[in-house]
């Protein structure tokens, strides 16, 4: 009798757990799963609301993947994503280590440096325009120093495929996010291991490569995944600050969707699915590599 009662209590508890997770599941699967399923269906030619139903056809993918424009766009998209994430970490790893040493103004500096995290990307783009444009402040300062005497002589930072303006905005906006993530990891690890290494006679280079870096690796992995995925899916910075044709993939997809011809939307959906596919491949490869790294260190 008693075991029966505990069993039914446990069942009740399980049911309650399921009920409490359910809203989250419904929202995620409904929105996210729905978007994925519909996106894939449409990219294979299913769009009865436009009077198009060729499902399943690979026409849209073929047209896309056999054009050199697509590969140029993909290359640009990945280049901006990688460059910004890499530069972000080159800055934020030493920055978070410096800020983890509590000095008198470290809180103020940490707060100041966090500002970009709090404002929209579009503000970052406005700042890039006013700083880096040919009529921007850096150009004016160069003229003041006598380096140039015409705005056109200023080195073209915006609207080129080198994407320095885009990368600058990403870095400006994401260094605080990365620093905050790494600082949280550092704060939790404490300084004990670093001090132990110091006592044992490790120099600062050894401490960084052998102690600190392996400790903050999980933070680096999670922050870089989030930032990279954001960077290759971002739309506004490449549109405003980019070099125009060939566009990055999100801009390309948006242009297809804005086309008066509905049929192009299916083409746009093929772009979107390709983008998600590429990011999925990178995600899987990255997580696999990370797992191998952790296994080599004996942590998994």
């Amino acid at each position: 009798m008693k075991t029966n009662r505990t069993a039914s209590l446990a069942l009740m508890q399980n049911l309650r757990d399921v009920a409490e997770v359910m809203p989250l599941l419904v929202v995620l699967l409904g929105l996210f799963g729905g978007a994925v399923v519909l996106g894939i269906l449409q990219s294979f030619g299913y769009a009865p609301w436009f009077g198009i139903n060729e499902f399943p056809t690979t026409r849209y993918f073929e047209r896309l993947w056999f054009s050199s424009d697509f590969w140029a766009s993909l290359g640009l998209t990945l280049y901006y994503g990688f460059a910004a994430t890499l530069i972000g970490f080159v800055i934020s790893i030493p920055l978070s280590i410096a800020l983890s040493k509590k000095f008198r103004a470290s809180r103020t500096f940490a707060a100041l440096i966090r500002l970009p995290l709090m404002v929209p990307y579009t503000v970052g783009i406005a700042l890039a325009l006013v700083m880096l444009g040919n009529g921007g402040l850096l150009s004016r300062i160069s003229a003041g120093l006598g380096l140039i005497d015409d705005p056109a002589q200023f080195v073209q930072i915006l609207k080129t495929h080198w994407g320095c303006g885009i990368i600058a905005v990403y870095v400006w906006k994401q260094v605080p996010f990365m620093t905050l993530t790494l600082s949280a990891v550092l704060a939790r690890k404490g300084e004990d291991t670093v001090e132990a290494a110091m006592v044992l006679g490790a120099n600062s280079r050894q401490i960084f490569w052998r102690v600190t870096l392996p400790q903050i690796m999980p933070g680096i992995v999670s922050a870089s995944l989030i930032c990279f995925a954001f960077n290759i899916g971002a739309f506004e910075a490449p549109l405003i600050l980019g070099g125009g044709y060939p566009d990055t993939l999100p801009v390309l997809a948006w242009r297809y969707f804005q086309d008066a011809n509905y049929a192009f939307q299916l083409q746009g959906m093929a772009v979107v699915v390709s983008l998600a596919l590429v990011s999925g491949i990178f995600l899987a490869a990255y997580l696999l590599g990370y797992r191998r790294y952790e296994r080599a260190r004996g942590r998994v």
């Binding site: 729905g34 500002l115 404002v119 503000v123 406005a126 993530t181």
Partner: protein
């Protein structure tokens, strides 16, 4: 070793240089933005405007710079109200969805838990443009595109992963002992939640809400795609202003207005934002 705050000289010169350079890189660009918002004529290569806005104010037949920003025709007031209103609605809805789920994730072990956690993180790992465009088609079919409901629902996608993560960490930090004691002492579920659990997890809940609000107010892409130009928020208004690749006094003013919520949150919530467990 030393627990009391040390001088900035306690870090190496390279670290000092890095911290100062990053602070400059972060803050300095706001100076020309403020100048631009106050300029009337700012020809190249002058470092400061030759004619300021306040000198031309009386003479101009139409509102200039900040006068325009604060006039109804700029739609700044409408965008601000939309941004804040959507942010609050998204935060409350997100909390309602995530709080119960976070408790289960923190306190229970079940088959498929890892997969569920991966599913929750997935919206951050799939490019936003892909989600936005695919959802737009669904929302058009459902009649949700260009409505407040549609924008609020779509804002849940990038906010849920953070909220779940932060709330789960909060629940994990507290365990279940206090609740067990209250249950033994005869409290019912409602009493336990409002009298025991909530007061304990409140700081974490506030941190989660602030971060969610922040993400929502800063969101551009999903608002832009799903709002279809009918729901304007500060980021989309600013985008419309600068999408041509030029920034005038009005654009600079709107950019400054769009930064205000973030700056206010930065000043008043330093304590909360700092302590949130982002790194998992």
């Amino acid at each position: 070793m030393i627990s009391s705050p040390r001088d900035i000289k306690s870090i190496s010169p390279w670290q000092r240089l890095l911290v100062l350079a990053m602070a400059t890189f972060t803050i300095a660009p706001f100076a020309p933005l403020i100048i631009q918002s106050l300029a009337f004529r700012w020809a190249w290569p002058n470092i400061l405007p030759t004619v300021w806005w306040h000198e031309q104010r009386e003479r101009s037949p139409f509102p200039l710079a900040w006068d325009y920003v604060f006039s109804p025709s700029s739609r700044v007031a409408e965008a601000t109200i939309n941004t804040l209103g959507i942010g609050i609605a998204v935060t409350l809805l997100c909390l309602l969805i995530c709080l119960p789920a976070a408790r289960v994730l923190a306190q229970r072990n079940f088959r498929g838990k890892n997969q569920l956690e991966f599913l929750i993180a997935l919206p951050l790992l799939i490019p936003e443009a892909a989600i936005g465009i695919a959802l737009l088609m669904i929302f058009i079919a459902l009649g949700l595109s260009g409505t407040y409901a549609g924008v609020i629902v779509v804002h849940l996608i990038p906010t849920i992963p953070y909220m779940v993560r932060m709330l789960t960490a909060v629940y994990q930090g507290h365990g279940t002992e206090a609740e067990d004691h209250a249950r033994v002492l005869g409290a019912n579920r409602r009493q336990i939640f409002f009298r025991v659990t909530l007061p304990m997890i409140l700081p974490g809940v506030i941190a989660g809400c602030l971060f969610t609000f922040l993400v929502s107010t800063n969101l551009f892409l999903l608002t832009f795609f799903i709002g279809q130009g009918q729901i304007i928020t500060l980021p989309t208004l600013l985008f419309a202003k600068i999408s041509g690749g030029a920034l005038d006094a009005t654009g600079a003013g709107i950019a400054l207005i769009a930064s205000v919520p973030g700056i206010i949150l930065l000043i008043f919530t330093d304590r909360f934002i700092r302590s949130y467990p982002l790194a998992e």
